[in-house]
């Protein structure tokens, strides 16, 4: 069933619940990563890279704003309330995205893996039965396309350069792999998401498509393919998180919690 408006989506409680769940996953992934990306401001390896990476950070936060806006239309709180005041256990981002950046190699590895996942996920949303989501995703995919265009060569060149850079990339792959499987989980509402046509496929298929995107990049980079990542220890889609997210939220809301009723 095609849903053109939030009101139409709200008529079926099961579908509305699944839609909200999906939107929280999207919003929280983008917000966490955009926030982490922005920590590189002024610190990237060269000035040109600093400027380029900052555009990516802004895009991610911008996408989060879009998804939070859709949630607000569904009757959830305002985007600012949702971004700044939800507790860690209410958040649905993949655990890997809440972790601190680490070095530039780890930042690149995580980003390329996530961007490939987001590409696969948004591809499965372009025909979503919830039309406001489908339309927004079409635009977001154009921006995300440029992220991969920029980040993939960085990743490949670091890996192919040999020496310290390659060692760091290999170490980063080892470090992030145990949590990368957290991307694919769609949480408790997966079945309903598919039944309502909100998303075109489930988590197993997302993982398979992701592998088809990422493995060739590893080949090009001359890296051994470690195989599909295992199911994660903590499933962020079910509100399971680490101290890193608590810390991130504390930082992000440090100013606004001093007076949550004030206008900032």
């Amino acid at each position: 069933m095609i849903m053109e408006t939030a009101d139409q989506a709200a008529q079926n409680p099961g579908c509305r619940r699944a839609l909200a769940e999906l939107l929280y996953q999207l919003a929280d992934d983008e917000l966490c990563l955009g926030h982490r990306d922005s920590e590189w401001l002024g610190l990237a390896p060269d000035i040109e890279g600093d400027v380029a990476f900052s555009s990516i950070a802004q895009d991610e936060v911008g996408h989060a704003v879009f998804y939070l806006g859709l949630l607000h239309e569904l009757g959830e709180e305002s985007p600012d309330r949702l971004a700044f005041f939800r507790k860690a256990e209410e958040r649905k981002n993949a655990v890997l995205l809440e972790q601190p950046n680490g070095d530039w190699a780890r930042t690149m590895v995580r980003h390329v893996l996530y961007d490939a996942f987001d590409d696969v996920r948004t591809e499965a949303l372009v025909n979503s039965s919830y039309r406001p989501l489908a339309r927004g995703v079409a635009k977001i995919r154009r921006e995300e396309h440029y992220h991969l265009l920029q980040l993939k060569p960085w990743f490949i060149r670091l890996a192919r350069a040999g020496g310290e850079a390659r060692k760091r990339v290999e170490r980063a792959v080892g470090e992030v792999w145990s949590e990368a499987g957290g991307f694919f989980s769609l949480g408790d509402e997966e079945e309903e998401m598919i039944r309502s046509g909100l998303i075109a496929c489930g988590s197993e298929e997302l993982a398979r498509r992701w592998e088809m995107r990422v493995k060739p990049v590893f080949d090009e980079a001359g890296l051994t393919w470690p195989g599909l990542p295992p199911a994660p220890g903590k499933d962020g889609r079910r509100g399971e998180h680490t101290e890193d997210l608590t810390e991130l939220i504390r930082t992000m809301s440090e100013v606004v919690v001093t007076d949550s009723a004030a206008r900032w």
């Binding site: 002024g42 610190l43 802004q58 350069a161 992000m252």
Partner: protein, 312 residues
């Protein structure tokens, strides 16, 4: 043509209002004065990103978060544009981009005094955008007429972007000024912190010999004091209209002279902060730049290596 004749021709070009280009002949003194000015401007933009960077992760709304990210990015972008202008000037002197950044880390190039100071509250992020960028625009707009073409062109773009920053800063300020008692107090304290550094920012009242040479070469056309007065004219009424107090009891407008009388800043203190990187935040922020430049040399080296490996 001997050197004196060349120099005379050069000065005639300046008199006619012509712009000098990177590949034109220019006196060594002109090159060195320009390089010093633009190098300092470039590293000031880069160091100027840090006081606000601290507030990027903590910006209190999504709109503010996006705006301050974009602003810090612009500052870095300005640094990049200016470094390219400086690189061309430095090349005949045997200096590269890496050297220009090394100079900053080793303390061989100064950056603006305001970026040595702390920014302990969200209100500081607003005041930096509003008043510090406001002061910078006045400085930079006065340089739009500079005799060096590449600098003039970059400044044109920078000025356009800076006016957005000022609006961003003003926007934060207006929310705080119209906000709670606590927000107003936070804002007043930030203004108190930034006033003296801002007065110093424009430089000494008297025209130094180096400043006079820059005026002779039409690198700049206005004196420090003219620019400071322009800042007073524009901002004193605005600050007061928001119900804020300017922390200078002797500040007054001399109607007869048509200028503002102000308490001079502690020239010696701020002079030493800039010369010896001895401000409250100087070393911490230079440390951040050192992290970016030195700890991540491996990335730049890897990118060069991988370029060499690629078939051309």
């Amino acid at each position: 043509m001997n050197h004196d004749e060349r120099h005379d021709r050069f000065m005639e070009r300046l008199e006619r209002g012509e712009k000098i280009e990177a590949t034109d002949w220019m006196p060594d003194e002109y090159r060195r004065l320009l390089l010093k000015l633009i190098h300092m401007h470039a590293v000031s933009e880069i160091m100027g990103a840090f006081p606000e960077k601290e507030w990027v992760p903590k910006a209190p709304t999504l709109k503010r978060k996006l705006a301050i990210m974009a602003k810090v990015q612009d500052e870095m972008g300005h640094g990049q544009l200016l470094l390219r202008v400086a690189e061309d000037l430095a090349a005949p002197l045997g200096k590269t981009r890496e050297d220009l950044i090394d100079d900053l880390i080793e303390g061989r190039v100064k950056f603006h005094n305001v970026f040595h100071m702390g920014s302990p509250t969200w209100a500081d992020a607003g005041v930096i955008g509003w008043l510090v960028d406001g002061a910078a625009i006045i400085n930079q707009a006065a340089l739009l007429d500079t005799s060096y073409g590449p600098y003039a062109r970059v400044l044109k773009r920078i000025c356009a972007e800076e006016s957005f920053h000022m609006q961003h800063g003003e926007n934060i300020i207006l929310a705080l000024a119209g906000g709670t008692k606590e927000q107003k107090r936070m804002l007043q304290e930030a203004v108190n912190r930034w006033w003296e550094p801002l007065i110093f920012f424009f430089g000494p009242v008297e025209v130094t010999p180096a400043a006079q040479r820059m005026i002779d070469y039409k690198i700049r056309t206005k004196t420090n004091e003219e620019l400071r007065q322009q800042f007073f004219n524009k901002y004193i009424p605005r600050i007061r209209s928001l119900g804020l107090t300017i922390p200078d009891p002797d500040l007054r407008c001399d109607e007869k002279e048509g200028k503002w009388i102000f308490t001079e800043p502690d020239w010696k203190k701020f002079g030493e902060i800039v010369r010896f990187n001895r401000g409250p935040k100087s070393q911490e922020r230079i440390g951040l730049r050192r992290f970016a430049h030195e700890e991540q040399r491996w990335v730049r080296e890897a990118l060069v290596r991988s370029r060499e490996k690629q078939p051309v």
